[in-house]
């Protein structure tokens, strides 16, 4: 058994596109409107901002707990390339295998339930059959028996699921990031951070520790219950639709920040949104953290007038430390200039939806 993809099914929906070299990634017109724009008001500051991760409005990224969109197949092909270049982007410490099975079960059940046209899961006791039609996979295996899969359960399922994932073990009154699949990250190294506790891996984030954000967030997460997942947003900026902004490869992609001009900014500059969701897992008691990355170019965002106005105000008024930490301080003046053309000063409605 191997995990070679045989894509091609449903190719009228799943886009053939790249997140590297020629960067052919684009959002279709309908996909722009389902973009999870992260600002529900005209300014931004860190907060714990957790809410229940429940199925939301139809036709949006929140309709199902695991959103599968038009970029699914292309993202999985990109992940396979990242892993071929650097297998250390996926690591699972030995005691995390059970949590990997928990996650595999969660994902397979959710996808088969919410997208029956693309995924199916048949179970007879521990004998399971998983069909992933977009990637051309049809595997029968034994649940909880690693020898029946081509990878460990965590790597197997996250090679077929959009979003980075980490698994947190709970002990000594904190959470330990003891496994991760990280190929679409906003500049942090799994290889360096794996095995750290909650405060350690967040150590480099400015301002938030002093505000008590991480103490409160940890307290909140320790109480997370199975069956009651939560979510929050995070965001940053990326030049080109590059999913894999890893510190490992920063010497390759860092120079692109210096290529922004007023002429190419709308096409090259992307708002990078992380829809983060957290699940307590039933057997291992670990917490799965899904960091789903969405990219939209400034050109695409300003097709929604409310978002154009609001993005201008947020970026213009962001504290300097945050723009520095998020890595776009050098291009902020150019972004604000460019966005100002789309801000007529009209009030914006509360909430993040494009229309209301």
């Amino acid at each position: 058994m191997s995990l070679d993809f045989k894509p091609g099914a449903f190719n009228d929906f799943f886009r053939e596109e790249t997140f590297r070299e020629d960067f052919t990634y684009r959002n279709s017109t309908q996909n722009i409107r389902r973009f999870p724009f992260p600002f529900d008001r005209d300014d931004y500051m860190y907060s714990v901002n957790m809410e229940p991760h429940v199925p939301g409005r139809k036709g949006t990224a929140f309709e199902h707990i695991l959103d599968v969109d038009e970029h699914y197949v292309a993202e999985m092909i990109d992940r396979a390339k990242v892993l071929a270049d650097d297998p250390l982007r996926c690591q699972s410490l030995p005691h995390m295998t059970l949590a990997g099975w928990d996650l595999l079960e969660l994902i397979m059940e959710a996808k088969a339930r919410d997208y029956p046209q693309w995924f199916s899961l048949e179970k007879s006791g521990n004998n399971w059959r998983w069909i992933n039609r977009p990637l051309g996979i049809d595997h029968s295996f034994t649940f909880l028996d690693e020898s029946t899969l081509p990878y460990g359960p965590f790597e197997y399922i996250t090679r077929q699921t959009q979003g980075d994932f980490s698994l947190q073990d709970e002990r000594d009154g904190t959470l330990w990031m003891d496994a991760g699949m990280v190929t679409s990250q906003a500049d942090w190294s799994l290889d360096f951070d794996v095995g750290m506790n909650f405060h350690e891996w967040h150590a480099p984030v400015p301002l938030a520790h002093e505000k008590g954000v991480f103490d409160r967030a940890l307290k909140f997460l320790m109480k997370l219950q199975h069956g009651a997942p939560v979510r929050r947003f995070n965001w940053t900026m990326t030049v080109n639709p590059l999913l894999d902004t890893a510190p490992e490869t920063y010497p390759k992609w860092g120079p692109t920040k210096a290529t922004i001009t007023p002429e190419n900014l709308g096409q090259k500059q992307h708002l990078r949104v992380e829809l983060q969701s957290l699940y307590r897992l039933p057997r291992s008691n670990a917490i799965a953290f899904d960091i789903r990355c969405y990219l939209a170019s400034f050109d695409e965002i300003v097709t929604v007038p409310k978002w154009g106005r609001r993005l201008h105000r947020v970026i213009r008024d962001l504290p300097e430390e945050l723009a520095t930490y998020k890595g776009f301080i050098r291009n902020r003046p150019a972004m604000v200039d460019w966005l100002s053309k789309y801000d007529d000063g009209q009030p914006t409605s509360p909430g993040w939806w494009p229309d209301d």
Binding site: V194, G195, P247, Y250, P251, G254, P255, A258
Partner: protein
Amino acid sequence: MTSSLTPVTPTIHSRPVYAPLEPRPGQLHLIVADGEGADAVIEMLDKASDRSGILAAAHVMYAPGPNGTDLSSQLQALGAAQFFRAPTIPALLPRLIRVLADAHMGSQFYLAGTEGLIGQAEREIMKTGFPVGAIQKEHRGSTVRRVQCVHCKGITENVASDPFKCSHCGLNLFVRDHYSRRIAAFQGVNIDAEDPGEVPQSVVRFK
């Protein structure tokens, strides 16, 4: 007695902090030190009410510091049950790993000296599953850092200047306070990726 624990300015949560070694009751006292860490070991024993008991169950491993400080004769003179002087930290670690294979619960670990020595010894002890609470760490002497280049993954030992050139891939790296116990190193990140060649003046931050 005035302790000369190397002062560490608190910075970020992943950056290790240290405290003076204290004698504790135990079946085995595994003492690993380099450079000026020898003084911390001597002072710890001076505080012990059962000095001879600790020494009779002590295994001391020592390497000279990166600055050349070699206090091995003072440590040897303590009369521990077992004493070993290694020329370097890499030469010391295989013996530590071998001893750990036979160490039981109830062992006490005393690490003293540079952060490179402490971090690498701690990593080997943690691999065996001993609780972190059984490991005491006192930073003495040189503050040079062990740094992992996040790009090529190469480790540069005894980094004094910031930024510095990675000894493996040659990139100009700035030294973060972000620290990985698993790698036993601070993180080095390319400083001129966005503007190649624009490297700030290097300053000696670690001595």
